[in-house]
């Protein structure tokens, strides 16, 4: 009996890691462009410095670990981590804040666990959460987008701490403002435009929509599946919808929750990280719903106005457990018994 050789053409899969990462980088461009338009040069300095520091640290750590440096650097994953971290940082962040974040992301959250593919926590979000807890003042230095934007040289001087940031320049994010509205009802809050300038609101909405466009590119290129973004945004909308219907005078509308924070950015770019997200489609839905619900709970009842980082980290932490219970049955086998096995020890 002779074995038939299947002849070519064989399908060729061009989705190498470096290509995927390059597309993710490309998909961040609309968001970055709108961020720069509203917040000026600071965003670009954060980006450039984070990428430079990130790639250097990655190369250093790979050398220390005796791994092929150029092979791993070419996969662009360090760049993606640094870009995602840099766009989450406030535009008036000083250089040492960026550097601390990059060290936490690349050294602790990524290389200590064995590099790309083995890190249980999203590196960019580890860094963000760490910075938010350690340096709350610096992490709230968002400039007010309606006003005056620093020029190139002033931004550079500010980045390196040569001039101090004028306080008048900084403004709270919409979620922050809403959280601190105190006794005001929602209607009174919106009726008073001095609390939340329309330009500020508009800027955040435009940024969110730009991230959404980038996310759609990722979906169209099939680099991510619909499950996680839909689950995150859907559960956030449902949660905020329920509370809005119950007590509209104290809780913000679903639209506000979806558009006036990092929800869309988080749903498309952060939560979908293939390494730290759940693997099966069912698992992805559980994971996404968990993130959405946690975002709403922490935003509304917790101490932090935007909760993407904590929600993602908490669900990252649950991912091995979710994967354990949502592993699909393999064809021809019975469904595996999970949990405590009694008869094994009997």
């Amino acid at each position: 009996m002779s074995l038939m050789h299947a002849s070519s053409p064989h399908a060729h899969g061009p989705t190498a890691t470096s290509r995927v990462m390059a597309w993710v980088l490309a998909a961040t461009l609309p968001g970055i462009a709108v961020l720069c338009w509203h917040y000026g040069w600071g965003v670009l300095f954060n980006l450039a410095f984070a990428c430079m520091a990130g790639v250097t640290l990655e190369a250093l750590l790979l050398t220390l670990r005796d791994r092929p440096v150029s092979f791993f650097l070419k996969d662009n994953s360090a760049l993606v981590t640094c870009v995602l971290l840099a766009v989450s940082l406030p535009p008036l962040a000083p250089w040492w804040l960026v550097l601390t974040g990059v060290i936490a992301a690349i050294v602790v959250a990524k290389q200590l666990y064995g590099g790309l593919g083995q890190n249980p926590f999203n590196p960019a979000m580890v860094a963000y959460a760490l910075l938010l807890i350690s340096f709350p003042v610096e992490m709230s230095r968002w400039s007010a987008p309606d006003g005056f934007v620093l020029g190139f040289s002033d931004s550079l001087a500010q980045f390196f701490g040569l001039i101090s940031t004028p306080d008048a320049l900084t403004g709270a994010t919409p979620l922050d403002t809403f959280r601190n509205k105190g006794e005001l009802s929602t209607a009174e809050f919106w009726a008073n435009p001095t609390l939340l300038p329309a330009a500020n609101l508009l800027a955040w909405q435009q940024i969110a929509i730009a991230w959404g466009l980038g996310g759609l590119v990722l979906l169209a290129k099939r680099l991510i599946t619909w499950h996680i973004p839909v689950a995150v945004l859907g559960s956030l909308a449902v949660m905020s919808g329920i509370f809005y219907v119950i007590d509209g005078s104290q809780h913000a509308s679903p639209v506000f929750h979806l558009l006036c924070g990092a929800a869309i950015f988080g749903a498309f770019f952060i939560a979908t990280d293939p390494v730290t997200a759940a693997t099966s489609n069912k698992g992805k839905l559980y994971y996404g719903v968990g993130i959405g619900v946690l975002i709403y709970l922490i935003r509304t009842f917790g101490a932090y106005p935007d909760a993407i980082a904590f929600a993602v980290l908490l669900m990252n932490f649950s991912v091995p457990f979710i994967d354990y219970y949502t592993q699909p049955r393999s064809y021809g086998h019975k469904k595996a018994r999970r949990g405590i096995k009694l008869e094994d020890k009997a």
Partner: protein, 193 residues
């Protein structure tokens, strides 16, 4: 009623005994190598912790306080916990050999779990009622179980990761626990108790 819910949320998430108050770290590190054994430990701890916080409350308020022996509370609670653990072990062994197989080896370990003693002492400081003390113990146990099981699932994954040699084993587990603790800080401010 909402008071009870707040106690549960506070003990499970906001003031999680392992990740926020750093009590009960020995079983958290020691029994988290395998998911199955972590689940067994969680069940046993939940049972004993709830029971022992009830017993400790009764002991303090009906024996120690009337006799003016409050200063003996630490020793008394250690005794109570040991008795509860032994009692549970005997009852479970006689009535349900199957359950004993699951919980058996973990029961003696619970005596040395500082979270159990911690709960008994902390409920005293909070001046709680009997029902609150019970819920406090139950919530603490559920919080402990939650992080123990999730951590065990994560450690099974870490066991096959290409971790640099100096960080293999307990070192990377400690780093992971610290990152989990970082994530749990997100719950701070959720409820004030």
């Amino acid at each position: 009623m909402s008071e009870y819910l707040l106690i549960l949320i506070s003990t499970i998430l906001v003031n999680n005994f392992v990740l926020v108050q750093f009590l009960g770290l020995c079983p958290f590190m020691g029994v988290s190598n395998k998911l199955e054994s972590a689940m067994g430990m969680s069940l046993a701890t939940t049972f004993v912790l709830t029971l022992s916080s009830m017993c400790a409350y009764l002991t303090y308020h009906y024996i120690l306080a009337p006799l003016g022996l409050e200063y003996l509370r630490t020793i008394a609670f250690i005794m109570v916990i040991a008795v509860v653990v032994q009692f549970t072990e005997m009852v479970v062994k006689k009535t349900s050999p199957l359950l004993y197989q699951v919980l058996g080896i973990f029961l003696p370990l619970i005596t040395t779990n500082c979270a159990v003693l911690g709960v008994a002492l902390l409920t005293l400081n909070r001046n709680s009622s009997f029902m609150e003390a019970t819920l406090y113990g139950f919530g603490a146990a559920v919080g402990f179980s939650l992080v123990l099981v999730l951590f065990a699932a994560m450690r099974e994954r870490l066991a096959v990761a290409d971790v640099p040699r100096p960080f293999q084993g307990p070192a990377i587990a400690m780093v992971t626990a610290s990152l989990m603790s970082l994530a749990f800080l997100g719950f701070s401010g959720l409820v004030q108790i």
